[in-house]
């Protein structure tokens, strides 16, 4: 018996990489160029430059012991910020531990990001108007939660979207499939943004999966999938814009795979990239840097100057210093602080412990 075979070609052929700007900032795909105002172009550049400076400062502060847990972001600015640029104030953000820039640009005060890094509960106490979940440590757990938030937004009749960020490694977790599948089944307004920075700590993406692209994983969930050059701010912006329009129109979720790279170590807690990747590879990716290409593009349009660059960097440095001072002023955590957040009303055991610890803490004062 002849079994039916799929001879329509390889699945990855349906997922070409969307690229609009080349590494020199020339438009190579005029047709795909998104509508975006000059002011917006400038603002996006400002955010990327600012974030790069803050990231560099954060690495230093971490080495000096003034920050705690930190996952470097340099290289991923376009993937992070050109996508999050499309977030409406009322859209919801579900970030991973690396996606702190999106959180801050969505409204998290910088000093709170620093408190999160240090491991202080105030780093998780968000302003009422900030629509975001705390950075997710458990890889891909945010994907199923994004389906829930998106379904909730839909049921409430809101024209809002859930933006869910994660890495290439996360696509191996069941939660990734479950989240896409649920959101697809409910046609819920979610955007799943997979930042494929090629490595999950030390494991290269080729070892995560036999699939030639991560975008094609959308096929099994029956949702849209697209692969973009994650070092190209315009391509990331264009793909996200479309995804958001579909989501709002009730057409369901999209998976966006951004091809990108992290220049730094996985986190600042002892990761040594020389064990698993070459400097040549890093050098190749640095040539595709999102800031360089966007700078060229904007300079040609007369939208960005050396002065803008310096002003932005200066602003970032001042803000970081201010935020750090603000974080330093926050009081130390006590056990009673932690016990106090366990339940709406303390249970019997918690109350006993609250009493015991507050007596002790009182003694220490």
């Amino acid at each position: 018996m002849d079994l039916p075979v799929n001879d329509s070609g390889r699945i990855e052929d349906f997922f070409p990489t969307l690229r609009i700007l080349d590494t020199q900032g020339h438009v190579i795909n005029e047709q795909a160029r998104p509508e975006i105002s000059n002011d917006e172009l400038k603002e996006l550049m400002r955010r990327m430059v600012y974030t790069r400076v803050w990231d560099q400062r954060a690495l230093k502060l971490n080495r000096q012991g003034r920050l705690g847990f930190y996952a470097p972001v340099a290289g991923q600015e376009a993937s992070m910020l050109a996508s999050a640029f499309l977030m409406d104030q009322e859209d919801w953000l579900l970030p991973s531990y690396r996606d702190i820039p999106q959180l801050v640009w969505h409204g998290l005060p910088l000093y709170k990001a620093f408190l999160y890094s240090r491991g202080h509960f105030e780093g998780g106490q968000y302003p009422e108007e900030l629509k975001a979940v705390m950075p997710q440590i458990i890889i891909a757990a945010q994907c199923t939660q994004a389906a829930g938030i998106a379904l909730g937004l839909k049921k409430r009749g809101k024209k809002q979207v859930a933006f869910c960020y994660f890495g290439d490694g996360a696509t191996s977790q069941g939660d990734f499939y479950e989240g896409m599948n649920f959101a697809g089944a409910y046609r819920a307004p979610a955007i799943f943004i997979c930042q494929n920075n090629r490595f999950a700590i030390s494991v290269p993406v080729e070892k995560q999966t036999a699939a030639a692209s991560l975008a094609q994983k959308a096929v099994a969930a029956g949702i849209r999938g697209i692969q973009v050059d994650g070092m190209d701010p315009l391509a990331v912006y264009a793909a996200t814009k479309k995804a958001r329009e579909h989501a709002i129109a009730g057409d369901g979720p999209t998976l966006i795979e951004t091809l990108t790279y992290r220049y730094g170590p996985h986190t600042m807690a002892g990761d040594d990239p020389t064990r698993y990747r070459t400097d040549e590879l890093t050098g190749e990716w640095e040539k595709r840097d999102p800031l360089i290409r966007f700078r060229f593009y904007l300079e040609r349009l007369g939208l960005w100057s050396q002065e803008d660059e310096e002003q932005t960097a200066e602003q970032a440095r001042t803000d970081v210093d201010k935020a750090l001072k603000q974080a330093d002023r926050v009081s130390k955590q006590n056990v009673t602080d932690l016990l106090g957040f366990m339940f709406e009303k303390p249970t019997q055991n918690i109350q006993e412990q609250l009493d015991a610890y507050s007596a002790r803490e009182g003694d220490q004062r």
């Binding site: 705690g68 847990f69 531990y97 240090r118 491991g119 202080h120 509960f121 780093g123 440590i137 458990i138 890889i139 490694g169 996360a170 191996s172 977790q173 069941g174 999950a200 700590i201 030390s202 494991v203 070892k207 995560q208 999966t209 807690a269 002892g270 990761d271 064990r275 698993y276 130390k332 955590q333 006590n334 056990v335 602080d337 932690l338 016990l339 957040f341 366990m342 055991n349 918690i350 412990q353 610890y357």
Partner: protein, 325 residues
Amino acid sequence: MTQMTMIQAITDAMRTELRRDDNVLVFGEDVAKNGGVFRATEGLYDEFGEDRVFDTPLAESGIAGLALGLALQQYRPIMEIQFFGFVFEAMDGIASQLARLRYRSGGHYHAPVTIRSPFGGGVKTPELHADNLEGLFAQCPGLKVVIPSNPYDAKGLLIAAIRDNDPVLFLEHMKLYRSFREEVPEEAYTIELGKAKIVREGSGLTLITYGAMVRTALKAAEQLQKEGIDCEIIDLRTISPLDTETIVKSIQKTNRAVVVQEAQKQAGIAAQVIAEINDCALLHLEAPVGRVSAPDSVFPFASAEDVWLPNEKDIIEQAKATVNF
């Protein structure tokens, strides 16, 4: 004999068993080329190759299922959960599948799987890395739970775990990884699972503990000695099954006990130890059994670890209360 840290002893145990038995495999996230995020598998990939020591895709449930499948093909998997806080992802694979395989097949199948994972407070990891979740697993029928407190025990217990024909959860306290060195034999040796060890002899009070709290208890005992309280210290080493015999014998001698655990108070190992003492040694007691533990909050945010974790002072206070009861 060489001087080894606990993490070196752990690597050495795996190396010894990989050499001895071709069926032993090591896998998990970042364990191959990278040698594990703590370097616990350092050098194993170079010596034994991709066939024996390999990275998995990033999925703990996948890792546990893979281990069960390989066990059914007569392999002896050593699977790593990169940090124990991530074990919930593999909860079904461990508690419902690996731990029940022998039972469900009426003894036809078994799972000689060792689950290694770093855990424990004091190193200021981000949230969900360091949690003391051993109590959850001590409540899983079909699973043994081992927690070494020093390099020598770590090697002997890990080799015993790898050779055991049932699943063993082997928890490695992060704070102990590199905190001190000790003489460790180069050859293979085993320490029987399920056996506690008296690490300090004494007559006035028994301190029962495990993991990183053993060192803390030893320091507390020195201080207590100066104040006239002579402590015996039991290192449980295996928390499931419990070595009740050693505990009872000690209490028959000292008539007083304090149980110390780093984990939260509710439904922990200390509770189980106290229940066993009630069952088997109640009439030998001259005071209620004391308990030192962390409070019942979630494992603390990094910068609150210092105030949250039980310490020497807590042990000394409780020991005095129990003696002066």
